[in-house]
C-alpha cells in the first residue's frame, strides 16, 4: 500500500465512522441478539433463558399468529395491485400534457402527507356507520339495488377493506414517482410508434410500461416491505385491540403486543424473524418473476 492509499483509507474510514458505529450498535448487535432472544424465554425484566426452538413451535400452534398473518396477506394481496394500478393510472393521465398538471399533482399528493394518526381519526369519523359522511353518500346509491352500506369498522367483513381504502388514499406518493418515470420516456419512441400506426393500448403495452418497469419494480418491492409492517393505522383505529374479532390484528400489531403488552420479547423476536423470511422470500420471488421483464436501458 502506498502512502497515498493508506492516507485515503484512513480518511475514508473516518468519514464513514458514524455509520460504522451506528451499524455495530443499532444493526449488527441487535440482529445477533434478536436471533438469540428468539430462542429464549425473555421478558426484558429478567435475564433470557434458553429454550431452543420452543417459541417457533408455539407460534405454529398460536391461532392469533395465523390470524394476523392471514390478515396481513389479505391486506397485501389487495393493497399492492390496487395501489399500483391507481398510481400508474393517475400518472398516465397527468402525463398527457394536460393543463394544470402541477395543480392536480399537488391535490393528489396532499393526502399522503397527512400523519397516519390524523388519517385514522379522520376516517374513523367518516366511516362511522350512523353519522359517517361516506355512508350518507353511499346509501342512496346502494339503495337502488336494494342494498345498504356496511358499518365499516364494526364488521369483520368490511374492516379490512376499510383499511385498504384508507391506505389507497395515500397513493399520491407512488404516483409522483411514476410520473417522474413517465417523463423520462424518450419522446422519439412515441413518434416512431405513431408512424407505425400503433394504438394507444399498443403504445402503453410496448413502450410506456416496459420503459417504466424499473420504477414499477422499485415501488412493488418497497410496497411489499411496507405492507407487511402495517401498524399505526389499525392500531389507532382499534385502540390497539385489532377488533372486531381480531379482523384487523395485523402481523406487526400482534408482534408489538407480544413484546410490549405481554412482555414476551423472545416470542416477538421469533415472530420478527419469520416476518423477515416471508418478506425476503417474496422479494426474491418478485425479482425472479420480473427477471427479463424489467428493462434497465442499454442492451
Amino acid at each position: 500500500m502506498t502512502r497515498r492509499e493508506r492516507h485515503d483509507l484512513r480518511n475514508g474510514l473516518l468519514f464513514i465512522a458514524p455509520w460504522l458505529i451506528g451499524f455495530g450498535a443499532f444493526v449488527a448487535y441487535p440482529i445477533a441478539a434478536s436471533v438469540w432472544y428468539s430462542l429464549c424465554d425473555y421478558s426484558v425484566l429478567k435475564p433470557a433463558v434458553f429454550i431452543a426452538a420452543d417459541n417457533y413451535a408455539e407460534l405454529g400452534q398460536d391461532p392469533v399468529f395465523w390470524q394476523s398473518l392471514q390478515n396481513t396477506l389479505y391486506f397485501a394481496v389487495f393493497y399492492l395491485p390496487l395501489s399500483a394500478m391507481f398510481a400508474i393510472a393517475l400518472a398516465l393521465l397527468l402525463n398527457t400534457g394536460v393543463r394544470g398538471m402541477a395543480v392536480y399533482r399537488t391535490i393528489f399528493f396532499l393526502p399522503s402527507l397527512t400523519p397516519m394518526i390524523a388519517l385514522a381519526i379522520l376516517w374513523m369519523w367518516m366511516l362511522n356507520g350512523e353519522y359517517g359522511v361516506v355512508n350518507h353518500f353511499l346509501n342512496p346509491v346502494l339503495g337502488v339495488f336494494g342494498l345498504r352500506s356496511p358499518d365499516w369498522l364494526q364488521t369483520t367483513i368490511w374492516s379490512k377493506p376499510a383499511i385498504i381504502l384508507m391506505s389507497l388514499w395515500g397513493v399520491g406518493h407512488a404516483m409522483v414517482i411514476y410520473l417522474a418515470g413517465l417523463q423520462d420516456v424518450p419522446h422519439q419512441l412515441y413518434e416512431a410508434a405513431d408512424i407505425d400506426g400503433a394504438s394507444w393500448f399498443a403504445k402503453l403495452g410496448h413502450v410506456t410500461l416496459p420503459l417504466i418497469s424499473p420504477v414499477i419494480f422499485f415501488n412493488v418491492v418497497m410496497g411489499l416491505i411496507g405492507a407487511f409492517q402495517v401498524f399505526a393505522l389499525p392500531y389507532v383505529l382499534t385502540g390497539g385491540l385489532g377488533g372486531p374479532v381480531r379482523s384487523t390484528t395485523f402481523y406487526a400489531m400482534y408482534l408489538y403486543n407480544c413484546a410490549f403488552k405481554y412482555l414476551r420479547m423472545g416470542y416477538a423476536c421469533a415472530m420478527a424473524w419469520i416476518l423477515f423470511l416471508i418478506v425476503l422470500g417474496l422479494t426474491l420471488a418478485v425479482m425472479r418473476i420480473s427477471r427479463g421483464r424489467v428493462y434497465y436501458g442499454g442492451t
Binding site: M1, E5, L9, G12, F15, I16, P18, W19, G22, F26, V27, Y29, P30, I31, A33, S34, Y37, L90, R99, Y104, I107, F108, F109, L110, P111, L113, T114, P115, M116, I117, A118, I121, L122, W123, M124, W125, M126, Y131, V133, H136, W169, H173, V176, I177, A180, G181, V215, F218, I225, F231, Y235, V236, G239, Y256, A259, A268, A272, W273, L275, V279
Partner: protein, 292 residues
C-alpha cells in the same frame, strides 16, 4: 411579456382539432372528479373542525358551518397539553434532522469522494440493511436503551439519527458522485483537507439533496407513531401523534368537532411546510424512485 404570452398561446389553440378537444375535456373530467375524492376528507376535516357540535351530525351535511366556531380550536388546544406536545415533537424533529443531515452527508462523502480499499463491500452492506424490517431489531434496541436508562426520554428517538441512515446515505452518495472530481482536485492542490473539501466544495453544491434529506427526516419524525409509543412513558413527554391518540381514546368519538380541530392543527404544519418547499419535495421523491 403579456404580448409574448398571447403569441405563444394562439397557434396552440388554432392547432387544436375537435377530437383533441373532446379528449382533453374527458381527461379533465376524470382528474377533477378524482380531485374531489382526494380533497374530500381534508375538506371534511376542516369543515367539521369549525362546526358547533349539534351541526356535526346533521345529514345532509352542511359544508359551511354556521356559525363558524373557532372556539373548537381553543378548546382542543386546552384539552390536552397541546403546546407541550408540539414542543416535544419539534425538539425530537430538530435534533434528529440536524444529526441525520450531518452524519449521512459525512458518510456519503466517504463512500462517494474517496477511493479506499473495501469501500464497495461496505457499501453493499449499507444497502443490504435497508431490507431488514424494523421488528427484527426492535426488541434488542429496546434492551440497549433500557440499559442506558434512556426509556422515557427523547434520546432513543433522536440519537440514532446521528449515526446516519442507509437510505439517506445512498441518496446523498448518488448526488455527490455527480459533482466533478476536478473541483476536489483543485481544492486539494490549494491545500484543502478532505474535511475542507466536504465543507467548502461538496456541501454548498448539494443543497437540494441535503434539503430533501432534512425534509424527509423531519416529516418522518413528525408523523412517527411507533417510536414514541415504544419509548415514551410519561404523558408530559408525549409527542403530538401520541397525544392525539390518547386524547381520542379518552373522549370516545363524542366531540368530533374538537377532535377534527386538533387533527387539523397536527396536519397543518406539514402541509404548510410542503407548500413552501414543494419543488424540493417533488424533486426529492423523484430522486428516491429513479436512482434505485
Amino acid at each position: 411579456m403579456a404580448e409574448r404570452d398571447s403569441q405563444m398561446t394562439i397557434p396552440h389553440r388554432v392547432r387544436r382539432v375537435p377530437r383533441r378537444g373532446l379528449r382533453s375535456f374527458l381527461i379533465h373530467a376524470v382528474l377533477i372528479s378524482g380531485s374531489f375524492v382526494f380533497l374530500f376528507p381534508l375538506a371534511w376535516m376542516i369543515s367539521t373542525s369549525l362546526k358547533p357540535i349539534e351541526q356535526t351530525m346533521v345529514m345532509p351535511p352542511k359544508w359551511i358551518p354556521n356559525p363558524v366556531q373557532f372556539l373548537n380550536y381553543l378548546r382542543a388546544v386546552n384539552f390536552i397539553p397541546f403546546f407541550t406536545y408540539a414542543r416535544n415533537t419539534l425538539t425530537i424533529c430538530l435534533l434528529g434532522t440536524a444529526g441525520m443531515v450531518l452524519s449521512s452527508s459525512l458518510v456519503a462523502y466517504g463512500f462517494a469522494r474517496i477511493d479506499w480499499r473495501g469501500r464497495n463491500v461496505l457499501f453493499v452492506i449499507v444497502l443490504a440493511t435497508m431490507m431488514i424490517p424494523f421488528p427484527v431489531t426492535m426488541i434488542p434496541l429496546y434492551g440497549i436503551f433500557r440499559n442506558l436508562h434512556w426509556i422515557g426520554t427523547f434520546r432513543p428517538l433522536w440519537v440514532p439519527a446521528w449515526f446516519g441512515n442507509a437510505f439517506n446515505i445512498f441518496l446523498l452518495r448518488q448526488f455527490f458522485m455527480t459533482i466533478p472530481r476536478d473541483l476536489s482536485d483543485s481544492a486539494r492542490i490549494d491545500g484543502c483537507t478532505e474535511l475542507g473539501i466536504y465543507r467548502r466544495v461538496v456541501l454548498p453544491l448539494s443543497r437540494p439533496a441535503l434539503a430533501v434529506v432534512a425534509l424527509f427526516h423531519f416529516m418522518y419524525n413528525w408523523n412517527d407513531f411507533m417510536g414514541p409509543l415504544i419509548y415514551l412513558i410519561d404523558q408530559k413527554t408525549f409527542t403530538l401523534s401520541l397525544g392525539l391518540q390518547f386524547y381520542q381514546s379518552q373522549h370516545g368519538g363524542t366531540e368530533w368537532n374538537m377532535l377534527m380541530a386538533a387533527s387539523t392543527l397536527v396536519v397543518l404544519p406539514i402541509i404548510v411546510l410542503f407548500f413552501f418547499t414543494q419543488k424540493t419535495f417533488i424533486q426529492g421523491i423523484t430522486m428516491t424512485g429513479l436512482k434505485a
